[in-house]
Amino acid sequence: MTNSENIIEFRHITKKFPGIIACNDISLGIRKGEIHALLGENGAGKSTLMSVLFGMYTPEEGTISIRGKEVKVTNPRVATELGIGMVHQHFKLVQNYTVLQNIILGEETVKGPFLDMDIARKEVVELSQKYGLAIEPDELISNITVGQQQRCEILKMLYRKAEILIFDEPTAVLTPQEIDELMGIMKGLAKEGHTILFISHKLDEIKLVADRVSILRRGKLVATLDAVSTTKEKMGELMVGKEVSFHVEKEPAQPKEDVLKVENLTIINNETKKKVVNDVSFSVRKGEIVVIAGIDGNGQSELIYGITGLMPINEGKVLVNGEDYTKKSVRERNMILSHIPEDRHKYGLILDYPLSYNLALKNYFKKGFVNKSGFLNFNKFNEYADELINKFDIRSGQGRTTMARSMSGGNQQKAIVAREIDQDSDLLIAVQPTRGLDVGAIEYIHKQIVTQRDKDKAVLMMSFELDEVMDVADRIIVMFEGEIMGTLDPKKVTVEEVGLYMAGVKREEKKV
């Protein structure tokens, strides 16, 4: 069926990748001027569908019509000519160019052989005023915040006269205040007649901003619903195919003695000579979950690296169970702490090692895994891997022999969580343990973390997701520009308040 209102019409789109059908016979109409959300778990096919629209993938079957005309979008340039623009999850900006230079890159205005920036500047400034996209045209990208970079990306699309705007998980990197601003901008754009496609797996945002929502599951379109009248619970259920609980079930914490004690920790960046972590002191006790909140890049990562030994400390002390670990090696620290790292591909896994090798990464040198003359005991490797695979339900194509690279993100993360939790250390450090995972996997990992706490482990977690922070934490530490802005009780503060601490607006009085 065709609908004359529809600006985009997907008909029976099928896109296959080796071993998987990413989009399976998807037919969907997008109305002109609406904000249409695409909701789905990781690997549900929402990004693939948008990539097909933007010309980055060619579908095996099916057609796309835009403004009633069937089109073949063979590459992004064609998409741009058709008035389609996309803000990618990872911005595509030249760091050492200015905002203005980035916006006009590829569409430069010229006078003869020379650049004529004045025309472009005028146009960009007009656009930014019209849509409330505050920018500083002459600031370098490397000097501006993530939110500003995103506005720069949006202006890039508008400058190219895009009418159909695709946002790929645009809020993942923003503060609550920035998210509000973005929502406002999106609504404004829709009002001016732009059509917005909005990929997300955050139900709150979809409720807030979208007109309609299409839910994808395992490559298939499950339903297209009115976003305003559908409940969050219903959307969540359709997305994962089962009921999900949004709240982390946990008893009140019963903290005991200190396990981790950080005293006046300072880390200075080698290049900028800036104190990225500035005189930070806190402690984590047995049986509690302390979550470090903050906007990306405010020293949280460095703080964790300082504690785990991956980055040298300039000043201060790290004590675990009363013992000084400031100068100890990573291996020595690994004996007393487990670390679910921020970047699972960089630190957490050796992607070209099989799953069994990866699961043994913290154990391979221990008795049983290796004999006295240095030969590995592969029976033990296999046994141990199978044990963890069963216990933590890690799914992969070929079991323990699967290369980590070919596993899904959720199962890669499960493997790391399994390995680290099984170390049974007194201290568990979990950095963004649910980043990029779908609702089912998030629920699972939260449960594991709470179980560890209930087993009297000390848990230090770091997260950028405020909902997660509020749900999981027994105590919240907010960091801003390398300093602790406050230690908060999640039961006594609101999300907005935490947001103010995160933005550096509010600060707890220093206790004497």
């Binding site: 296959k16 990748f17 080796p18 071993g19 998987i20 059908i21 990413a22 399976n24 395992r218 490559g219 298939k220 785990t308 991956l310 090696s329 990573v330 291996r331 020595e332 620290r333 690994n334 670390h339 790292p341 960089k346 630190y347 957490g348 896994l349 050796i350 992607l351 070209d352 090692y353 090798y357 990464l361 913290k362 391979y364 040198f365 290796v370 240095g374 030969f375 590995l376 199978d386 695979i389 069963n390 890690i394 799914r395 992969s396 194509g397 070929q398 079991g399 323990r400 022999t401």
Partner: protein
């Protein structure tokens, strides 16, 4: 329930081999074209001679020559396999090889020639390995502690060796009449044992056996030991290695030490052979060092694969020695091997292609996958 691992078929092992074979076939095809362009009349004959490796011309005794050529490049090839797997791009093969050769010669001339039988050749061999390792250690230290790019430093060390070695030769073992190193005393040469009988070549010795044993040992280290687990992990992901508490500086030093020692071994085995090889007194790097990279490339960095890679390149070299009969320079073989190396550099690319072909038609519905998994 979890899926039981399948033992029978590991696609990766076969695609690696297939990629190398395709590289070889492509290399030979282009070589054929070059031969035909250079001399259309004799091109086909010359090509057939290379293909049949001179087996047809020299008879069975060419096996001995083949093994003699294979020995040094197997050593350097295995050295490169280990270094590359550990992510240490040791391009210093020629230097480490020549230093090993030189130390083996000098040790036998000045020290071990008066010692009883096994020691007389074993000591020069061991000395060469130590020398090769120490020569490689310097760039290794620069890399581990000062973060100096190892490709650049090892290449620079090849130049340093190139000049220094002539100086050292002139001080110690220069035969002015012939313009080369003095011959190694007969009792310091490698034992021949049953090799001449086996290969029908009276210059054959146990060098190739030592090289093969070295390849097997390195394979065992890489695949079966804790050290190998750490070395390979370091090569695949240095950050994760650090996270796991593995000392990356130590890993870099160990891998370059072993790699240098193997290159030194190659130099010793080559120059303590019965075929009468000398270091000539002129500037230049030992080609065996660079050929090792080609061997490792063909072998997909597998030390056991290197045995076949080295034999294959040696086979071409033997055939190349007959090129002059057809009016070609024997260097034409170098051209062919380089072409094959270029193609094997594409091997990763080819592997992806092969994997795609094999996977075609095996696309599964996501729901089927789900059912299988649950």
């Amino acid at each position: 329930m979890s899926v039981k691992p399948k033992k029978s078929f590991d696609i990766n092992k076969y695609t690696g081999l297939l990629a190398s074979l395709i590289a070889i076939v492509c290399g030979l095809l282009i070589a054929f074209i070059i031969l035909m362009l250079t001399n259309p009349a004799k091109g086909l004959d010359a090509f057939m001679t290379i293909i049949t490796g001179g087996l047809g011309m020299g008879g069975f005794k060419n096996i001995g020559t083949l093994l003699f050529f294979a020995t040094p490049i197997l050593c350097t090839g295995v050295a490169m396999c280990l270094a590359f797997q550990a992510g240490v791009f040791n391009i210093g093969g020629p230097g480490q090889f020549s230093i090993g050769a030189f130390v083996a010669i000098v040790t036998s001339l000045y020290f071990s020639k008066d010692l009883p039988a096994p020691l007389s050749w074993m000591i020069p061999v061991l000395a060469a390995m130590v020398a090769g390792a120490l020569w490689a250690l310097i760039p290794g230290i620069l890399r581990a502690y000062f973060n100096v790019n190892i490709v650049i430093s090892t290449v620079m060390f090849n130049y340093i060796e190139m000049y220094y070695i002539l100086h050292w030769i002139s001080l110690t073992c220069y035969d002015a009449l012939k313009g080369q190193t003095r011959p190694v005393p007969a009792n310091c040469k490698l034992p021949q044992l049953f090799m001449p009988a086996l290969t029908q070549n009276k210059a054959s010795d146990i060098g190739i056996l030592i090289a093969i044993i070295a390849a097997i040992i390195v394979w065992v280290i890489l695949e079966k030991t804790k050290l190998g687990y750490e070395l390979k992990a370091c090569g695949k992901n240095p950050d994760a290695t650090r996270y796991a508490g593995i000392k990356s500086k130590r890993t870099i030093l160990i891998s370059i030490l072993i790699s240098g020692a193997l290159c030194g071994l190659g130099g010793a085995l080559y120059h303590l052979s019965w075929s009468g090889v000398y270091i000539t007194f002129k500037l230049g790097s030992a080609p065996e060092g660079f050929t090792g990279i080609a061997v490792a490339c063909l072998a997909n960095n597998n030390p056991l694969g290197a045995i076949f890679g080295a034999s294959f390149l040696a086979y071409l070299t033997v055939g190349g020695n007959y090129m002059q009969i057809f009016g070609f320079q024997k260097e034409i073989v170098s051209i062919i091997t380089s072409i094959i190396i270029y193609f094997s550099a594409f091997s990763l690319f080819m592997r992806h292609g092969i994997e795609r072909l094999l996977l075609k038609g095996k696309t599964k519905d996501a729901n089927e996958l789900e059912e299988e998994n649950t």
